[in-house]
Symmetry: C2
């Protein structure tokens, strides 16, 4: 609980209605979409303006209260767990779309804006914002920016990182920073915009953003390629890139994923196939048709046993929606679903799929694999049970080996989900001692009192829920502290 | 001069042949392509490996010797002037192209590699590296990365910033950092790659880089649109963007620039026109022809009085080469040529061109304007004489007002040249007090002893050559220290 004097100060900023520290509210903001992690905050606050955010941070800075910024909490890296207690700052009231500038092809908004709502508003003007994380119906643009979210269209269009042109942010001392602008080129000093993108709430609270838009493609067409050999599906991906074709979407699902997604979405997926690729291209009609024709040839030459071309855009959209539902569908199978985000150079995708299978067998755990094959970004997903510590241990060993293999292939521990708590123990594997040291020195310089989302990126201890499924655990949690062994 | 014990240590690292501190060498590395600035280093060293760079930096760190990293020295921001003496580290021996990976569409090279040579090597494999600074015949990839270089193709393809996927860098303590990789997606911690891109040698020495390549466009076509009204040319740019066409190049030249470039290049430019746009599109032939047709219509509707479509790619290339020669051509006019880099949101390009004219008249200075109109990135260029302090003062006042106007329009003080010394006094105008403070805290954290390119970005004092043309000044410089007034 916060001291009553601090409570009063915070209530003075936002009004009594927008500060909460009743048990139900604290529990509600003690977890996010990440399995296995939970910790209770001391308060929850809902600012409505940048000035309020600044005032809140000044109070927290003075009194050394941890500040955990949160949008929808849909992240999968434990990025918004209030590990050390403190104040959860919920940005969802700051959800205004401030401007769509069709002369400069930019949009400016408050960061609590919902991603899907933003997409719809942009597309109504004939423009397009490509990054489309699978959680876009619930997530916020601020969360996307804070964690560098990707999505299904990354292969052709890149991720959130590639679209943020400018930010407004409240720094740990409460000062307000403005970076970038409606500029496609800016070489004025260190790239603070890009430093904040993906910083996961550890350096600042992002309050406003300006992003780049592009013209909305006039035409799109999807197809599905079915394989009875997993390796042939992966080989197809390499062959598509080798032919210099960049579909807007090039998604991979293995057999267990197909089965589960079909049970959930009921759109006629080939549930007995070993693997499926869902491919979509957009652009002008001629180019799309030309690419589709070439894609068909490549799929068949690479070993596809069946091709289904979507007859309508709606039919194509259904396949992509089904793919987006993979996590939701898989999480119905067993009590706990842990989705990972290992990424390899795209030429290694076939090897990586096979390695995931080998590792799952080795540790005797159930891992489905799907993901953004064209980017080399796979989401191996374990169906497990948090109540079984022995099994969870095997799952953790399996994921550690998956990260190790990804890095050995020149890959990374996270392509688009961020580090948060979950990947903190593995960060040094990717960035090395010099990288960790440099990141820590930046963190210490900008947030000397360590109030911004403490325990993330460089976590030394963590709280975990074990022995319990999360849905059961909420409200009556057994937590335990344990050292993270940084390998 | 360096102490003899330090000299010996450095010579032990690279061998006697590759360390120089004779007067001719010191003078040769006392300046770069930026007018008005010169300062003598204490030594010049030419490493051939990352390990040598690390050993050199360790010596300099221990003995607090400034380290100024330099490629070809073609920058225009005073970025490689050894303001506080110290050791100039010349990277041109580290010029190996290590790999072109056509499966992952990446290239890896040592940073001293020449940009044009790199382009040619990449294009021989059927791939393409778009960033094409006008200095590419002489500049190095490391310089491009250190300053976030742009070029003529920025509108469609972005700048150097958008292509760097990974770096190897030697940090101020001599440790070797590796960031990123052959990965199109990476969310593992702070984006150190992007922090180093554009950091201008103030945080680390960049030794190796991995960049993204794209397929080489199969077809390209150029055209020239001629205007007897400057505003109509600028309006054309806005109209092209409004039609959602992104030519790979969309360059603007005003009448004085046209005249001078034609005298230099002799390719038949319309020297009596008020302005000219040089436009090029690339891609597959059908798309290019369709865009060209639409571009013709837009140019005519926006007030072009004449259109010339290049009959061959070579004819188009000639126009672009002529445009690239603008700085060289203009510098023949008067003893000193100062080229600036103000950038505005692309919708403001017409207003900005007019403002530059107004400001030139106000201060009675000769300013030509050309640049990357499609990006909002103009290069107003003053023809002046460094021997006339009164005129130089007026030029400086004019540029200060140009920066002020650019920022008032939502623009920036540099689009692609970097801050270095020249723009340091104006940086706070763009990034604000919070931005300067944040950049300084990053600098202090990573380079606590301030050995990496001191006096850049945050310069408090500067040495200037005045009263002298640079070609005369070399070797017999009158320098004077003066306070920079940070506005």
């Amino acid at each position: 609980m916060l001291e009553s004097v601090i409570r009063e100060l915070l209530i003075k900023v936002v009004g009594g209605k927008w500060f909460k520290d009743d048990p139900e509210s604290l529990v509600s903001y003690s977890y996010d979409a990440t399995p296995l992690y939970q910790a209770m905050p001391d308060g929850v606050i809902f600012p409505e303006s940048t000035q309020q955010v600044s005032d809140i941070v000044k109070i927290c800075s003075k009194h050394r209260i941890p500040v955990i910024t949160r949008g929808a909490g849909s992240n999968l890296c434990g990025g918004t767990i209030p590990l050390q207690g403190g104040l959860v700052v919920v940005m969802t009231r700051m959800n205004k779309l401030l401007e769509i500038d069709s002369d400069n092809l930019t949009a400016t908004f408050q960061t609590g804006l919902n991603t899907k709502q933003f997409h719809l508003a942009v597309e109504r003007t004939g423009l397009f914002y490509p990054p489309d994380p699978s959680s876009m119906i619930i997530c916020t643009m601020g969360g996307n920016i804070a964690l560098g979210a990707g999505g299904l269209r990354g292969l052709k269009y890149g991720t959130t990182k590639d679209y943020v042109l400018g930010l407004e942010a409240v720094l740990p001392d409460g000062s307000i920073l403005r970076t970038g602008g409606k500029l496609v080129k800016d070489a004025a000093g260190y790239d603070l915009t890009r430093l904040l993108v993906g910083s996961g709430g550890t350096l600042a609270i992002l309050t406003e953003a300006t992003v780049k838009l592009i013209p909305k493609p006039s035409y799109r067409k999807a197809m599905v390629a079915v394989y009875d050999d997993l390796h042939a599906a992966a080989r197809t991906v390499s062959n598509i890139i080798a032919h210099h074709i960049f579909p807007c979407t090039l998604e991979f699902m293995d057999q267990p994923t197909l089965q589960v997604v079909e049970d959930f979405a009921k759109i006629g997926l080939p549930v007995h196939a070993k693997a499926m690729l869902a491919i979509e291209q957009d652009g002008n009609a001629d180019d799309v048709e030309r690419d589709l024709k070439q894609l068909e040839e490549i799929c068949l030459a690479s070993g596809a046993v069946q091709l289904n071309i979507a007859k309508t855009p709606e039919e194509g959209a259904k396949v992509m929606e089904a793919r987006r539902s993979a996590l939701a569908a898989l999480s119905r199978l067993r009590p706990t679903t842990i989705l990972e985000d290992a990424t390899v150079p795209r030429s290694k995708i076939a090897d990586m799929v096979l390695e995931v299978q080998r590792i799952a067998q080795k540790y005797d755990v159930q891992i489905c694999t799907f993901g953004h094959a064209g980017d080399g970004n796979l989401h191996p997903t374990a169906m497990t049970d948090a109540r079984d510590p022995e099994e969870i241990h095997r799952v953790e060993q399996a994921f550690a080996e998956i990260f190790e293999v990804a890095i050995a292939m020149g890959g990374t521990i996270t392509g688009e989900h961020g580090v948060g708590i979950v990947k903190a123990p593995y960060l040094e594997w990717k960035v090395g001692e010099a990288g960790i040291k440099m990141m820590k020195s930046i963190k210490d310089a900008i947030d000397p009192h360590q109030i911004m989302n403490p325990g993330k990126l460089f976590a030394e201890t963590r709280k975990r829920i074990i022995y319990q499924d999360r849905t059961e655990a909420v409200g009556r949690t057994t937590t335990q502290d344990e050292e993270i062994q940084t390998p």
